[in-house]
Assembly symmetry: C3
Homo-oligomer: 300 residues x 3
């Protein structure tokens, strides 16, 4: 499978990423995790999307145990992780309310913990997980630049940021924000119209996209909207010799901001299926047929 770069300055990635936010549910042994990583690699997926908070702050070390057992894997993959989300849970008794923390002390502590948990000396990409209304951009950019200089993080990005939040943080950094990871799917088209993807294309920073299947609602959903989208996908499956999931991914991959969808599956066939979507080029009118089905009205 071809490679992409999220931003002209890097990092080089696979066109689809594997996210581990549901890894806890897969009940993998370290050996199972190694096998799963290798399945991804065979399918051409080399980018792994983490966050410190996944699995209530346990998923990074689960993944790290696999890397420790099979250290050669590290050089074959890109590790993305995130910080700043602080939730109340057993592993964080100090938290008494869900909140965000973009203070330099917290970010440094969080990144260094992620490195230890992942059994690695660097993240290929660190994202601020959620916009923090208390973010002092000078302070936050300062620690991000330091961690980059120290080689602990190779690239910097954000997640769930509005265009003005991206602009603010970028104004304090000498290196580019290489991505803004946001939710997007045929059931969540806001970033196409609210300026998020316009900005992404303008600054040549490819979005990563979470929930590309709308958390499963795209196929299992019962509402009017998902019913319309499912029906519109139907005839395209045969035309493109593709699954519904592949059509949904191909719809995202056709966007001119060139997003990298993050899939979240532990299943071998689903991984291969997702990787296969990269080769599909949807016809423009088919793309609009799906948009119109999602919106429920013709384009103006």
């Amino acid at each position: 499978m071809k490679r992409i770069t999220l931003h002209p300055s890097g990092p080089e990635c696979s066109p689809v990423a594997s996210g581990v936010w549901r890894m806890e549910e897969w009940d993998h042994s370290p050996r199972d995790t190694i096998e799963w990583i290798e399945t991804c690699l065979e399918a051409g997926i080399t980018t792994f999307d983490h966050a410190d908070v996944y699995g209530q702050y346990t998923t990074e070390s689960r993944f790290g145990q696999a890397l420790k057992l099979s250290p050669s894997l590290r050089q074959k993959i890109e590790l993305v992780s995130k910080c700043d989300v602080c939730i109340t849970c057993e592993n964080r008794p100090e938290n008494h309310i869900n909140h965000y923390n973009t203070s330099p002390e917290y970010i440094r502590q969080s990144v260094e913990r992620s490195l230890r948990n992942l059994s690695t000396d660097h993240l290929d990409l660190l994202l601020l997980h959620r916009p923090d209304p208390l973010m002092n951009a000078d302070h936050t950019a300062g620690v991000l630049a330091e961690l980059q200089t120290e080689g602990k993080i190779k690239h910097i990005g954000v997640s769930n940021f509005t265009p003005s939040q991206v602009s603010l943080l970028q104004s304090r950094l000498d290196t580019p924000l290489v991505t803004n990871q946001v939710e997007c799917s045929l059931l969540h088209t806001e970033p196409l119209f609210d300026g998020t993807f316009d900005q992404a294309q303008e600054i040549r920073s490819r979005p990563m996209v979470w929930s590309p299947f709308a958390g499963g609602r795209l196929f299992a959903g019962t509402g009017e909207r998902s019913r319309r989208v499912k029906e519109a996908i139907m005839p395209l499956k045969e035309k493109y010799s593709a699954t519904a999931g592949q059509i949904a991914l191909a719809w995202l991959l056709a966007l001119p901001c060139k997003p990298q969808p993050v899939i979240g599956t532990g299943k071998t066939d689903r991984i291969r299926e997702a990787a296969g979507a990269v080769a599909i080029e949807l016809d423009r009118q088919d793309w609009f047929t799906l948009l119109v089905a999602s919106q429920g009205h013709p384009v103006p």
Copy 2:
């Protein structure tokens, strides 16, 4: 009538433009069209606003037949046209859903067809008709720049774009987007408040304004809002010795982004009426009286 420039770099235009989106309904012979153009010119209106799609892709050639019959007209007018809207109709059997197309191939093909249909070797201004979520700004800007270099289009603009869409396309062009043609009227005041006209003024790109009479609802409308506006216009007719339509246009012409209203009438007296609005300078308090009538509440 005085002349305006849409942008410091051009083009020079009349302060009001004549739009032809309803020309099919006028049932003009080529001679009638010549007469109508001359009526516009006599009234000082030299800018003619087309789109490939008007009349289901037939209006450009209707207009072009008149230009062929009276070739000297071409040098007296500015031709604006638009592309990228693809509708399903007999003349476009290849379209099976209404959509947009900003691909280089399509834009080139569309502009060259517009030139043939209009019997001209250049457009004074080409607009992208609608924002296309699939617009690859590099590719689209590339073909626009090429067409400009080839002399086929003198200036480039857009229509119905949001500020972030303008910013994106402008970032890839070496020449300015000279206008963003948007809907605005006393019944559609959004561009005054959503950043559209702030951006227009900031980049010194005068908007063209479509539906300046809200498609007739301003006078014939039965809703609360149009009733309020009609009542507020009433006393101003006498004060300014003006028609209701002229007051409505003068309200737009007073805006500091200095829009060029596009009227859409085939009737001689309506053309002269519109041209006459340019001389009216609404008093500031009268302007606010109309805004308040439109909004239905005092300013904060």
Copy 3:
């Protein structure tokens, strides 16, 4: 009390400002006003927030009479005033509808009248009070720059502007807009999320904040939202040895755009109370507890 600068270029101010929009109700004699000013100064509050329109255009001269009686006060304070709001009232028989006026003639006339009324030769800061849809940014910036060159206003700012309005006016000025005074409180959190405070932080222009107690609704309000906020403040009063009002101000002062709250009280104890809030540093989780109480749902 420590000093702040609204913008790196100035002006230097107190961290909390005293606003006089309710001064008419206080029924102060000139001597009372002097005493009130001195109470503010003793509490460390040196910035006084005026607008020509307060008290139906009478409050500036009421304040000015006090300055005339005690001229040495002028050098101890910063005078902020505003212009462009034109209301219908006895003192402005020429107004027949509430409106805005940012024309050069009006702004000059208004500022010169403010100087006379306030018995001063300069304003430390002039704000445009409300965004005027008829603002011609070239003209408005022109007169503001002139008044600054003449020494009549030391700094320029705006109030109630959107980010695109700030960007437009700034594009025509060689000196920075040092503040955008907007409404913000635990019952009005929009500026945290709509780009207003992102822009403020990006351009290093600290907002002034009006209605920091939501016009009293924060304490006296009966709605669900103010009830939730009041309950969330309760346990923090003891923790920080602070009043509810101080907690509400500390919540604002914690924002990374570093706003200057404008309080509007004539009462000595309330002035001291507000000044005391500056020393309180809310814990991050306490800050989020208040945000969540205001929003009525956890952070995403």
